[in-house]
């Protein structure tokens, strides 16, 4: 049985339906990310789990019990906010002890627990400071220690890294994941940053228009996006449309030539479908070779690799390759052929 079950959740604000028919099951100790663009409903789902919003329909069950009738302060759910939300009138230690004091834990137990939490986030030396005396990263560490100090059943993270600068963000996401693993706490993480979601999660829920567009492991989401939206949202992807053809092998007849397919994807010959190919899966080869034919429009040096912008009919395809793989004959305005291994061609369902 799943530890948390979200069943057919729906929520509207006035005439706008923000979450529709949302289903998700989290196992105990699992780290699941809700990923999507602004306004896709991910934060609303999180707030419904926290008890700050009531769903219009559906159910939220934790350990088999519906929590819809419980208020936010009765759900035993720890939460970390984007804006840290530390209490400005309390010191670091007092902030971490807040939940323990509210739960009327004996004073003799509070101090060691607070020390343990602050040790865990590496801020034991700063326990007498006030929030304004800490950096953003330090404040978020305190917020994390505060959220887990009273041993909640579930940890909710609402874009906790988005207010931090890039370097600290990368360091802190590793720390958060390590602490989550150490405590074994079931965690729901909201982010719009695909890199964060891919690097931290056991599973990712890609949301669009209030629905779960795809649920899967980071590898599944990245390598086998189910829909055009997921494909476009996760990483950079070339979407190629054309008609399925079959001779000795299946292929896609599209602007610029033919692209070999691993199969017909259950499509009949002549049916129009869309496939996706990552820029690093397209390989440039001499113009006279087979595959897709196009014109190199732009060459971008991006440090670790070089990105070619190739126009094939109306479409522009992106091709990432290492400098050493670039043939000397490739010039801006010149012809080029592109091929891809059939296993790297992905069928998009919608």
């Amino acid at each position: 049985m799943a530890f948390i079950n979200l069943t057919s959740l729906g929520k509207s604000f006035g005439p706008t339906q923000v979450v529709r028919d949302f289903n998700l099951a989290l196992g105990k100790g699992e780290f699941v990310s809700l990923l999507g663009p602004s306004g896709c409903g991910k934060t609303t789902v999180l707030r419904m789990v926290a008890g700050f919003e009531a769903p219009d329909q559906g159910d939220i069950r934790i350990e088999g019990q519906s929590v819809l009738r419980q208020r936010a302060n009765q759900r035993q759910i720890g939460m970390v906010f984007q804006s840290y939300a530390l209490f400005p009138n309390l010191t670091v230690a007092e902030n971490v002890a807040f939940g323990l004091r509210v739960a009327k834990v004996a004073s003799a137990e509070i101090t060691p627990r607070v020390n343990e939490m602050l040790d865990m986030v590496g801020l034991a030396a700063m326990k007498a400071r006030y929030p304004y005396q800490l950096s953003g990263g330090q404040q978020q560490r305190v917020a994390l220690a505060r959220a887990v100090a009273s041993r909640p059943r579930v940890l909710l993270l609402d874009e906790p890294l988005s207010a931090l600068d890039a370097k600290i963000r990368v360091a802190l996401r590793t720390e958060i994941r390590a602490i989550q693993r150490q405590l074994g706490i079931t965690t729901l993480f909201v982010t719009h940053d695909q890199e964060e979601a891919l690097s931290m999660s056991d599973r990712i829920v890609v949301m669009n228009g209030g629905r779960a567009e795809q649920i899967g492991t980071p590898e599944e989401i990245y390598n086998r996006p189910a829909t055009r939206f997921v494909a476009g949202f996760i990483g950079t992807l070339n979407v190629i449309e054309g008609q399925v053809g079959r001779e000795a092998r299946a292929f896609l007849n599209c602007a610029g030539g033919r692209l070999a397919l691993p199969g017909t994807f259950d499509a009949v010959a002549g049916e129009k479908i869309a496939v996706a190919v990552r820029p690093q899966s397209l390989r440039p080869c001499p113009a006279e070779a087979g595959g897709l034919h196009g014109i190199v429009r732009h060459v971008e040096f991006l440090g670790a690799f070089t990105r070619l912008h190739v126009s094939c009919g109306q479409a522009t395809l992106l091709v990432d390759c290492f400098a050493r793989d670039l043939a000397a004959t490739i010039t801006v305005g010149g012809p080029i052929s592109l091929t891809a291994a059939t296993e790297d061609v992905l069928r998009l369902s919608a």
Partner: protein, 260 residues
């Protein structure tokens, strides 16, 4: 010095004279009780008057009661409006402004009609009951100032997120208010409290019509019966107000958990 700068200085000087001259005149007049020399006789006379001490003590106690009543009414209301009903804010602001346009005499006559000795709740029948009515009247008069002070304090903090953070840590509404919201708007409450204090100390109509021994009626009585003492009393009242303002500034700077 260009013309613009001269103009600014001229306006500033005029404002200083406009506000300071009457004060200097009052102080100077209060020192003339003894013929031919300046003395503190008027101040001595006022401070030694047992009625001064009694009425001031009564008004100070009542102002503390008024502040407590005002904070108990206004803080949860302003908090709730900001958190749950932001669309009602203009309505609540309008209601809190009503005491500025409804004269105190209407409030006090309303009280006397509603709570007289032949009513269901005969509060005017006892001294404590009348004291409560007086505190309620003062709290109403102070409402515009107390509400704005507290609302400004709430605007300076992220009420929603702090409340949700406290709730997620298990806190109920009373704990959220008492341990998170109120400590973080303490300076705003203090500034509302001192404005309330200033109103209570000088208020005449409600105290006189409810027949309570407050400082306001005493000042009016003094003004109509003595010559130099009213000026001394005015200077003392000014000093108390300024001292209050100084305390607000001092406490605001001493707040440990905010940057200065």
């Amino acid at each position: 010095m260009n013309l613009k700068r001269i103009g600014s200085w001229a306006i500033f000087s005029f404002a200083v004279l406009y506000f300071l001259l009457p004060l200097v005149g009052t102080i100077e007049f209060s020192l003339r009780a003894r013929r031919g020399v300046y003395s503190f006789d008027a101040y001595r006379s006022v401070l030694e008057d047992s009625q001064f001490q009694q009425t001031l003590a009564y008004s100070v106690i009542l102002s503390i009661a008024t502040v407590i009543l005002g904070v108990l009414i206004v803080a949860p209301t302003a908090f709730w409006v900001r958190l749950k009903m932001p669309r009602l804010r203009p309505v609540v602001e309008f209601i809190t402004l009503l005491p500025l346009v409804i004269p105190p005499i209407i409030i006090v006559f309303g009280y006397i009609r509603l709570f007289n000795t032949s009513s269901i709740l005969p509060l005017t029948g006892s001294a404590r009951g009348t004291d409560f009515l007086l505190a309620a009247g003062y709290a109403t008069l102070a409402l515009p100032y107390m509400y704005r002070a507290i609302d400004t304090g709430l605007r300076a903090i992220d009420v929603r997120t702090l409340t949700e953070a406290a709730q997620s840590l298990g806190a109920g509404w009373v704990t959220v208010l008492a341990r998170v919201i109120l400590p973080n708007i303490a300076v705003a409450i203090l500034s509302g409290a001192f404005l309330t204090f200033a109103i209570v100390i000088g208020e005449y109509v409600i105290a006189a019509l409810l027949n309570r021994p407050a400082f306001g009626p005493y000042m009016v009585w003094m003004g109509s019966n003595r010559a130099y003492e009213p000026a001394a009393l005015a200077v003392i009242a000014f000093s108390m107000t300024w001292a209050s303002m100084g305390v607000i500034q001092f406490l605001a700077r001493r707040t440990r958990f905010t940057k200065v």
